[in-house]
């Protein structure tokens, strides 16, 4: 991924509600998963409490600052095994 961009991914029910699975955004200083959620009009001012955030394949807090080239994902409730 080019420097200066963010890759945003959605899964399962979130993907189907939004109608897309992946988007690219221009990274700006101070952006967090919370601001990405709002910018992409994913619903309300913040994700529901049941939605978890991952940054570069690791769980992260909603307000963790994002860096150039990061991949941020919004994960609906997990149900494996």
């Amino acid at each position: 991924m080019a420097t200066g961009q963010l890759r945003v991914r959605l899964f399962a029910g979130l993907r189907e509600e939004a109608g897309w699975h992946e988007r690219t955004l221009i990274h700006q200083t101070g952006m967090t998963a919370a601001t990405v959620w709002t910018l992409l009009n994913l619903g309300g001012t913040a994700p529901p409490a049941t939605v978890r955030v991952a940054i570069n394949h690791e769980f992260a807090a909603l307000h963790t600052p994002l860096a150039n080239g990061d991949e941020v994902a919004f994960l609906p409730p997990i149900s494996g095994g």
């Binding site: 899964f11 991952a54 394949h57 994960l75 997990i78 149900s79 494996g80 095994g81």
Partner: protein, 156 residues
């Protein structure tokens, strides 16, 4: 001076097509024998299969299992490694299906090798319970051509 704990052998397999958990276990045991001359005295195994009914009790047509490629494997490996160290076991194996499964098909196999049955059994159960909540998988139940995402795990 701090010391880094030695890595414990952890095998993770995500499988996109039906698999035989007994064959997976046999292959893992063979790998263990090759990698380590000391055979662990205890092994705990768990095999999970798709239920024939949905969480609401309707007859299930199929179960779809979505995952996050890259993160799912990484999370299972990290969970297994941490719990292996915590319980002091010798090796962990996790095989997990993804894609579309029919009722009765194997969905997960967890195996733990250890010196004693206690750590083997406890670690096996904890790996399974933790991956159910901490490894990104999403289940969708299909009934009469309609899919419904499952929002919670089944009771223990």
């Amino acid at each position: 001076m701090s010391s880094t704990p030695l890595a414990i052998p952890v095998d993770v397999e995500l499988l996109a097509t039906p698999f035989d958990p007994l064959q997976s276990l046999a292959a893992w045991q063979t790998r263990l024998r090759i990698e380590s001359p000391c055979i662990a005295a205890a092994e705990a195994h768990f095999i999970g299969r798709v239920r024939p009914v949905t969480s609401d009790g309707a007859p299930l047509e199929a179960l779809e299992l979505e995952h996050y490629p890259g993160m799912t494997e990484r999370r299972i490996a990290a969970i297994s490694q941490a719990l292996a160290l915590q319980h002091g076991v010798a090796a962990v194996f996790v095989g997990h299906r993804v894609g579309r499964l029919k009722p009765g098909e194997p969905i997960v196999v967890v195996a733990v090798a250890a010196d004693r049955r206690g750590p083997a059994l406890r670690c096996c159960q904890e790996v399974l319970e933790t991956l159910k909540h901490e490894a990104p998988f999403w289940k969708r139940e299909w009934v009469n051509g309609c899919g419904h995402w499952v929002a919670a795990n089944t009771p223990l």
